[in-house]
């Protein structure tokens, strides 16, 4: 397999030697296609445990495609294909013996638009993952309180857990969706522009939530908002497209990316010169 020249420093070092058991999520030379359309080319990235990684870049550069590759949501698009590998704690999630449902249990996802289950109450929504995936848990009340607290929603809804999830405001719905993802105890949480449909106040709440989450799990967040990326992420990865497939330009610690990036295009982008 060809190695890309553009990887983070850490992963470049790692790839020289035998891939030891890296704890966290890692992609190696990942490509993505939709039918004949080559959407993403050769992305190698590492997402260490308990960090927040921001994926930035202009629209259409393959960020969302990439993030959906990380928990096997990509394959739901009928003509989709991929290449390379995605390793979770050192094992390939696309290996034939892997069960995609189990992968998604470990790598959760929060979507762009809040999507609580309409027929369920707030409480049922939080417990939905446990019910859906057939997990054996006895301490339901505890889980509900814990997840809602971690998502920063507990205080607002503790007196109306039996209300419909649809009765909440947009920001609250999104936090409910985060709580729902947390209930199945994922190791990684993918967030695909989770704040793009929300007002500034709700955005702030969710950013706080993300920072708290990173104490326990790995968070990967796609965002269009430079300030948001600089506020919440430890690492940043910058994607770009020149009309062809999207590719990774540069990935590094967030502070370095915003103050002293290696690539001039990164500098231009984070300063708002294009995109």
């Amino acid at each position: 397999m060809t190695q890309t020249q553009i990887t983070t420093n850490q992963s470049a070092n790692q790839q020289n030697g035998e891939t030891s058991k890296f704890i966290g999520l890692e992609t190696q030379g990942v490509h993505a296609w939709f039918g004949k359309h080559h959407a993403l080319s050769n992305v190698s990235l590492r997402f260490p445990e308990r960090t927040v990684t921001g994926l930035i870049g202009p629209s259409g550069c393959g960020k969302s495609t990439f993030i959906r590759l990380l928990n096997r949501m990509h394959e739901f698009i009928p003509s989709a294909a991929m290449a390379g590998s995605v390793l979770l704690n050192g094992s390939d999630i696309y290996a034939p013996e892997e069960d995609p449902a189990m992968i998604r249990l470990k790598v959760g996802m929060v979507f762009q638009k809040p999507n609580p289950f309409p027929a369920m109450t707030i409480r049922e929504n939080v417990l939905a993952g446990i019910k859906l995936a057939h997990l054996k848990r006895s301490n339901h009340d505890e889980i509900v309180e814990q997840c809602l607290t971690r998502a920063g929603l507990w205080k607002e809804v503790k007196d109306r857990l039996q209300a419909s999830g649809g009765s909440l405001s947009g920001g609250q719905q999104q936090r409910l969706c985060i709580a729902r993802s947390l209930a199945v105890e994922p190791q990684v949480l993918l967030m695909d522009e989770p704040c793009s449909a929300l007002d500034p106040g709700s955005t702030l709440r969710i950013e706080e939530t993300i920072k708290e989450l990173a104490e326990k799990i790995t968070v990967i967040i796609v965002t269009h908002n430079m300030q948001q990326a600089s506020r919440v992420s430890d690492h940043c990865a910058f994607f770009l497209t020149d009309g062809g497939p999207g590719y990774l330009v540069e990935a590094d610690a967030t502070r370095k990316m915003f103050t002293n990036p290696t690539d001039s295009r990164t500098a231009d982008y984070v300063q708002g010169k294009f995109g």
Partner: protein, 360 residues
């Protein structure tokens, strides 16, 4: 400190509606309509226009004349608007008149033969021409309900499975299934009856409630499948993705997330299907015919049903049998409306609707 007067203070203001039509103007308009109505009545006496329909034509013509003539001080645009208002309103009234006339007719002609026994007794010991306080349509009501129940039991699971197939499973036959279901939605009801007659009735050697129920099922299946598909299509893909992203398998997502979301919609679809077929006459004339007594056994020969009962009473052609036909129609209409209103109630409670409440 503030340049805005009263900033932060509550000011009191009377709510007004400057755009509303004033009371006096409304009274004037009402008076004008009343005058026109009387004038139209006079016209029915003086001109060849006769009866209610003549009156309606006269009323419309007077209105139009007023709009075009007396209101000519308006500009061309306003006048066109006013003429159009009259035309559209009259078309709408015309569209509603037959239906209101039917409702009034069914009630006025139908209540004559209503007495408690009508709902529990059959026609075994009475002839269609007997006094209206003996005999009834209990057997027809029971027959109709049994046949509709058979149709529902057959179509509901098949229809919902077909809907799930078209939206969730999306197998290789999706296109073909959708095409056939859509085409069969246009099967004329008499053809469905003919089909069951030529297969079920002929092979069983007798007319039966089962045959009637199956004929109704043939008509119901495409409707239920189609509505089930439409309803399931309303579930946004986000919801399915959210289920999968939580590590759920497809079947659990479909059964625990997607179906509960549209429970109300599916029940509405089923009940509407029932309301539609319960009044079908033609297929039953070919499959279950009519009889005078209660028949509880769906494979025990001919069965009465409300439509065929009404049909038979009407064809008998005497005053009393005619009254019985209208009473049967009243009961049938009441049943249809009953199912309809339940469907409405359920539909309004739909979870999806609560989530995405549109205007109105």
């Amino acid at each position: 400190m503030s340049t805005v007067a009263n900033a932060g203070q509550l000011t009191t203001a009377e709510p007004r509606r400057p755009w509303a039509v004033s009371r006096s103007k409304r009274l004037l308009g009402f008076g004008r309509m009343l005058t026109f109505a009387v004038a139209a009545f006079v016209a029915t006496i003086l001109t060849p226009l006769a009866n209610f329909d003549g009156w309606a034509v006269a009323f419309l013509l007077i209105n139009l004349a007023w709009v075009i003539g007396i209101a000519s001080k308006l500009g061309a645009k306003e006048r066109r608007d006013a003429v159009l208002r009259v035309v559209i309103t009259s078309l709408a009234v015309l569209a509603f008149v037959p239906w209101l006339s039917i409702l009034v007719t069914v009630i006025l002609k139908g209540y004559r033969a209503v007495y408690p026994g009508y709902f529990i007794s059959d026609m075994r010991t009475s002839t269609p021409d007997d006094e209206l306080n003996i005999g009834g349509a209990g057997h027809a009501i029971v027959g109709s309900l049994i046949m509709v129940a058979i149709a529902t039991v057959v179509t509901l699971p098949l229809g919902i499975l077909t809907g799930i197939y078209l939206t969730e499973v999306r197998g290789r036959l999706t296109f073909l299934v959708r095409f056939i279901v859509q085409s069969m939605a246009g099967v004329p009801s008499v053809v469905a009856g003919l089909f069951i007659f030529a297969t079920v009735v002929k092979s069983m050697g007798q007319y039966s409630g089962l045959a009637g129920g199956l004929a109704l099922a043939v008509l119901m299946l495409p409707t239920v499948s189609r509505t089930a598909e439409e309803v399931l299509k309303l579930v946004p893909d986000d919801i399915r993705s959210a289920g999968y992203a939580l590590g759920a398998r497809q079947w659990r997502t479909a059964l625990l997330v997607v179906l509960p979301t549209v429970r109300a919609g599916l029940s509405t679809a089923a009940i509407l299907g029932v309301a539609r077929v319960i009044g079908e006459t033609a297929p039953l004339l070919l499959t279950s015919l009519n009889t005078n007594g209660f028949v509880w056994n769906p494979i025990g020969g001919t069965v009465a049903s409300l439509p065929t009962y009404i049909f038979a009473m009407f064809m008998y052609g005497t005053e009393y049998s005619n009254a019985r036909a209208w009473t049967g129609s009243l009961v049938l209409l009441a049943l249809v409306f009953f199912f309809f209103i339940i469907a409405r109630r359920l539909g309004n409670k739909s979870a999806l609707k609560a989530n995405a409440n549109r205007r109105k």
